[in-house]
Each structure stands twice: as C-alpha cells, then as structure tokens.
C-alpha cells in the first residue's frame, strides 16, 4: 500500500511538471484555452485510432490522440484564416464538434469497449500502479515511464529552443524578422502541449490537464518577471498542488483529480493575495504607503509656503489643516505624527514649525534647489 502511494505521488508529480512547462508559454502567449481544446480533442483521436487499430493498449493510439490535438489547432486556425470567425469562436467551434463526434462513435460502435466517458474528464491516477512496465530491470508503473519520457522530451525541447521560444513569445515581430520561423515554434509548442495532454489525460483527465497547464504558470507569473524563474516556480507549484491534492483526497476519500485542481486554485489565490510586489496585499500596502508619504510631503509644502507669512501661526496649526487641505482630523493628526517621527517638523504650542530637513524636502518637492 505504501509503495502504491509513493508511486501514485511520483506519477502525479511527473504529470504536473510535464504540464506546467508548456503551460507557461500558453499563458504568456495568451493561448491558455488552447489547452482546453486540445485536452478535449484527445478523446477524438483515441476513438478514431481505436476504430482503425482495434486495440485500446496500442501505443499508436497516443500518436493518434496527439495528432488530433494538432488537428484541432489546425482546423481552428484554418477557420480563423477565412476571417469569418474570431479566434475565441474558432476554438469554441472545433473542439465541441470533435468531442461530439467522438461521443457519438463511442455510443454507437464502442459501447462494449472500455472507453469510459466519465474517465475522459476525470482520469484515474489511482489505477496507475496496476499497469506496470519493466525497463532495464526496473519495474515501475507504466505511467512513470510514459510521463517521465514526456517530461524529458519537454525539458530537452525547452533547453534546445529556449532562446527561440523566449523571443517568439515576447516579441514575435522581432523573432520573425530574425528568421526564427514563428510558425515552426508555434506548432512545436502545440505538439508538445498535445503529447503532454495525451500522456496526462490517462491519469488525470481533461480538466486537470487544463488546471495544471494554466493555474501554476499563472501563479508563477504573479511571482516573478524572469522567464526562467517562472518555469521553475510553475513546476514547483504544479508538483505541490498535485501532492497536496493527492494527500488531502486520500485522507478525506475525495476525487483525486478534482482535489488537485482545487489546490492549483488555492495556490493561485495565495499568489494573487500575497505575491511580493504584484499581490493584492502588497499592492494595497504600497498604495497606503504612497498615500501617507504624499500626505507628509503635502504637509511640509504647506508649512513651507506659509512659514514666513504674518499669519503663519494660524495657517500652520493642526485645526487649520482640516480646513485648507480638506483632511479628516484623524488623517491630519496621523500625517503630523509621521512628519514628527521623521524629524521633519517640531511644534511650538499650536503652531507647526519645519525643521531644516523638513524644509529641504518641501523645497525639493517645489523644485527649489538648496542655497
């Protein structure tokens, strides 16, 4: 039993890592929903492949499935090229059609064969340990070999074409001008997405493929500005989602794929809230700090303007601030407090006086250089 848990975790981690890598580029290229289309079209490829080959275990099915993913992309691009349909609609037309054809074929011709439509959407990673394959004397679940190979392919492709992918993603115009063949890179990426979706599909189903391809890269995108780190973080987040999801699902006896997808969402929300710089919390703090600093500077400028005038005593008193700057009394007091803590002002009775540092800041703000 213990070994099964380890093996399932291993398969899930491999799936997660393999999905996250191409997923980063989908997110950056604004093609996230292509993963949805491809992962659903896989069923069509498997069904057609099965009709032609007649064996659910043939490795050729994987080729058919991956091919059908690329076919879906090709057809939707063809539709797009007619300029009668927008991009979103082109994707939304093609994959339900292919999926429908697949479901009809299954219900009409293959109802006695084990292609369970429920498993299409959900997959069953728990069965991974039962389907084994030995390679070089090492006996591991077939899923480990398949997903390991797919992950390796993705890594090798990434290493080989890192520069090309990066350039064509961030500046397609320049990439084309430099002769980097954006079409080749595009279809290379689509192939990688298809193959990964097919491999992952068996274990986690179409929906988790989308979750693992999109949510971890989206989280990583909030955490960093560097592509290399984004790739690393999204792989780590994907693996963490898979492992947490599996652990929780096992403890509470829940659907594993669903729980893993839920965890990709939890990590995304965490990144959304707490990412340094880009997180909602950090942004709120930054806004608050800017507001406070601006208030202090406004106060200093106000004091500087009036400090030499005859009615300085009245102008530069706290109660007057609420009138002239339309500040709430509490806000005014807080600004005065902060200015005092910064050593920018001192007080004589009701009147606020600028310290030399405070005057210097006020003058800088007004564009007056010292001296």
């Amino acid at each position: 039993m213990n070994q099964a848990i380890v093996e399932i975790s291993l398969v899930a981690s491999l799936v997660a890592a393999a999905c996250a890598l191409p997923g980063c580029f989908l997110v950056l290229r604004r093609m996230s929903l292509v993963s949805d289309a491809i992962s659903h079209t896989v069923l069509f490829g498997i069904v057609v492949g099965f009709l032609l080959i007649g064996d659910t275990r043939s490795p050729l099915l994987i080729l058919f499935a991956a091919g059908s993913g690329i076919l879906a992309v090709l057809i939707s691009e063809l539709l797009l090229k007619t300029r009668r349909v927008r991009e979103d609609a082109a994707i939304g037309l093609v994959f339900p059609l292919l999926f429908s054809v697949a479901v009809i074929i299954i219900t009409r011709n293959l109802s006695n064969v084990h292609i369970d439509t429920d498993a299409v959407l959900l997959g069953e990673v728990v069965f991974a340990p039962f389907n084994r394959a030995a390679l070089g004397g090492i006996n591991l679940p077939r899923g480990v070999w398949v997903m390991g190979a797919i992950l390796l392919i993705n890594l090798v492709l990434l290493a080989l074409f890192y520069k090309e992918l990066k350039l064509s993603t961030f500046d397609p115009g320049l990439a084309a001008a430099l002769g980097f063949a954006p079409t080749v890179i595009h279809y290379g990426l689509m192939t990688s997405v298809s193959v990964t979706a097919v491999g992952a599909f068996d274990h986690v189903g179409a929906v988790l493929v989308v979750a693992l391809m999109i949510a971890p890269p989206a989280s990583a995108y909030l955490l960093t500005d560097r592509l290399s780190r984004m790739l690393l973080y999204s792989v780590l987040i994907a693996i963490a989602s898979a492992l947490c999801g599996y652990a929780v699902a096992r403890a509470l006896d829940l659907n594993i794929s669903g729980t893993m997808a839920t965890f990709t969402g939890i990590f995304f929300v965490l990144a959304l809230l707490f990412a340094p710089e880009r997180g909602l919390v950090a942004k709120t703090q930054q806004r608050e700090r800017r507001k406070q600093r601006f208030a202090v500077e406004t106060l200093l400028v106000h004091l500087n303007t009036h400090e030499l005038s005859p009615d300085a005593a009245r102008e530069n008193s706290i109660p007057h601030l609420t009138d002239e700057l339309s500040w709430q009394p509490l806000f005014a007091q807080a600004a005065v407090q902060r200015a005092r803590e910064g050593g920018y002002i001192s007080e004589r009775g009701e009147t606020l006086l600028l310290t030399p540092t405070g005057r210097e800041i006020a003058r800088q703000r007004l564009g007056i250089t010292a001296g």
Partner: protein, 393 residues
C-alpha cells in the same frame, strides 16, 4: 427523413420525447439569443467557462438543501457563475494575468472543486443524489415536465430582460466606452448579461452537458453573424439557429437508437455554422471565391486583348492577327488559349481560318477601351493603367 417524421409524431404521443424536444427548443432559443451577444462581445468561450464553473454551485446547493429539485440547483449554479465572473474580473483588472488565463483558471479550478464536492456527496451514499453526475454529459432523457416548465419560465424571463434592456445591451456590445460616458452602469449591465449567459448555460447542462454547452454559445451566434450586419436580425437568426439545432438534434436522436442527444445537437449546430460560412450572401466563402474568379477572368481577358492591341499597333493595324505563341509570351502567367476561346465565344476575337492565329474584332477593341477606362476608375491595376493610357493615346 422518415425517422425524423416518426420522431415528430412521437412528440405528440411520447412523454419523454415531448419533454426532450421542448427542453431542446427552449435551450436552443435561449442560448442562441445569448450566443449572438457573446460572439459580438468576443466572449464566445465564456459559455465554456461558465458551464464548468457552475458545477460546484450545483453540488453545493444540493449539499445545503439536500434536494435534487431544479430550482435550488439552478440558483447555486448562477451564484457560482457570478462568483467566477467576479473573480475573473478581479484578476484581470488587478494583475497582469490576461483574460484567457483567468478564464482557464476559473474553468478548471471551479470544475475540479465541483468534482471534489461531487465525490464527497456520492460517498455519502444518499439515494437522493441520483442523477447529479449526469450534469457532466447531460442526459436529455432524464428531463421531466417539471424541468421543462422551470426552464420555460426562466427562459421566458431571460428573453424578456433582453427585450427590456435591448438598447443598453446593444451599447454594451458595441461601444461600452461610449455607454459609460452617457452614464449607463456598464459594469452592472455587463454582469447582467453574463448572468443571463449563465442561466442559458445551466438550462443547457441537463440536455447537452458541460463540454458541449460551449458549442451552443459559440455556434448560433457565429452562424447568424454571417448573414447580417444588423443586431436585431442577428439575434433573431441566432435564436432561430439555436432552436433548429436543438429541436432537430433531439428529433434525430429520438429517431435512432443509441444516438446521444447532446452531441447530435452540437453536430447540427456545427453544420449550420459550416453552411453559413460557405453560403451566406455577401460574406459566404463560396461567393467570395466566385467573385475572385470573375474578377480574375476579367483581368485575364483584358490582358490578352491589350496584348493583341499593342502588338497590332506595331504593325499599324490593331486588327492584325497574331500567332498564339507570341500572344502567350506577352501574357505569361495565364493560359492564353483558354482566355482566347472565351473571348471568341463573346466575339471579341476571331481565329484565322485553318491556323492558330488570332485577331481582335472591332467589338473587341471597343470592349478593351471600356474596360481600361473602368479599370482606370477603379484604380485596380496602376501599371495596366499607364500602359492603357499609352495605348489609347
């Protein structure tokens, strides 16, 4: 065809089929109507997202109420859809994450969470949950008259809202920025439209299921867009296409055994899109192709006539016959013989008896001059234009 007629007669006699057909009719009309707006607003995939995002709402509503009654599940779905919408808007407005990614995250995560909840419900071994999992793929046959009544009422309210807010929705669809300057609550209207979309999606879930619902929001609007540039025509056509797809899909699947309703409906809807893209007047690809061919024919004819005329000028006689190879040499890039035969049929050129030499007729010269003048007006071929002026002078 017989099968469909048979299915049609069953509508009046068979309880299940009547419910399925009525359900598909309401679904098709409603999703067709909203599809028109979704396509115009470039939000075709929102239907896909919402159909997935509704799942946790449906299951949670079931857990909270313990009922498989349609109304609570409906409300749950709408709340989940609205939450998903708000979340997507928060993410796209507050971070640099783009809309497609936000949609993907909501789609997959909400659905995954729904599956988690569903597995928990199923484990409770409650008999009442029967049929909950049918939301995934839809099970049209499970529609009962209570469902039909409910979706009928809901669909009617939704269509009524669209009529009431016709002007506002038009504005939101075409120029939200202008709408905002006029003081319309664009954000609220946007949310209302999305909510109506969620309503349509939930109506469809039972019939066609999660995956295929995407097509019902994309296809009718895309098809209708091909036929017209006017919003009201487009909305009516889109509703009509949706209804046709729904009803004929339901009838076809009723007329044969083992033909699932949802996929057949999607197939019919896709067929309507295909026909529209190919044959719709003006925008149809076939007509565009014919137009291209015709203008190509015209340009080829002018080129040959022009070649004959210019070569004739060298001999001081525009009507001088010329050998085919020399004509072909001037108009490389087309099959001169085919064009000459076409021209001969129109009596614009004549072939010299017993040889392969061709000459302009007087009618051909006149035709060439008119054509060159037309071309000059159209400014279609600047290079031809200059040559033409030289020739005509």
């Amino acid at each position: 065809m017989n099968g469909i007629l048979e299915g049609l007669s069953l509508v009046f006699t068979d309880y299940t089929i009547r419910n399925v057909v009525l359900g598909a009719l309401i679904l098709g009309t409603l999703s067709g109507t909203l599809s028109a707006y979704a396509v115009l607003r470039k939000q075709s995939l929102l239907g896909d997202v919402m159909s997935h995002a509704a799942l946790p709402g449906i299951i949670l509503a079931f857990i909270l109420t313990g009922l498989r009654a349609p109304l609570p599940l409906f409300i749950g779905a709408i709340i989940a859809g609205a939450l998903g919408t708000v979340f997507m808007r928060l993410v796209t407005s507050q971070t640099r994450v783009k809309e497609d990614t936000a949609q993907g995250v909501v789609l997959a995560v909400f659905f995954g969470f729904g599956m988690t909840l569903l597995s928990w419900v199923l484990r409770q071994n409650n008999v009442e949950h029967a049929g909950l999992d049918k939301f995934l793929f839809g099970r049209a046959a499970a529609i009962i008259s209570e469902d039909v009544f409910l979706i009928g009422v809901i669909g009617f309210i939704a269509l009524l809202l669209i009529l009431v807010f016709w002007k506002e929705f038009k504005l939101v669809s075409f120029d939200p920025g202008y709408g905002r300057t006029l003081g319309f609550p664009i954000g609220a209207l946007d949310l209302l439209m999305t909510t109506l979309l969620v309503v349509a999606v939930v109506v469809g879930l039972q019939t066609v299921g999660v995956v295929l619902m995407a097509a019902m929001i994309v296809a009718p609007g895309t098809a209708a867009r091909q036929w017209t540039n006017r919003l009201h025509v487009m909305v009516i056509l889109s509703a009509l296409f949706g209804a046709i797809a729904g009803v004929s899909g339901a009838l076809i699947s009723a007329s044969a055994s083992r033909l699932p309703t949802g996929p057949v409906i999607v197939l019919v809807a896709s067929l309507i899109v295909g026909v529209s893209i190919l044959f719709a007047p003006e925008r149809g690809l076939v007509w565009a192709w014919v137009r291209d061919r015709r203008s190509g024919d015209k340009l080829r004819a002018v080129a040959v006539l022009e070649a004959l005329y210019q070569m004739g000028q060298h001999h001081g006689n525009p009507l001088q016959p010329h050998a085919l190879p020399s004509i072909q040499a001037v108009v490389s890039g087309q099959n001169a013989r085919r064009t000459l035969h076409d021209l001969q049929n129109n009596e614009l050129v004549v072939q010299e008896v017993g040889s392969d030499r061709w000459a302009l007729t007087q009618k051909g010269v006149e035709f060439l001059m008119t054509m060159l003048n037309n071309l000059r007006l159209e400014k279609a071929r600047p290079s031809a234009l200059h040559e033409a002026e030289g020739v005509a002078a």
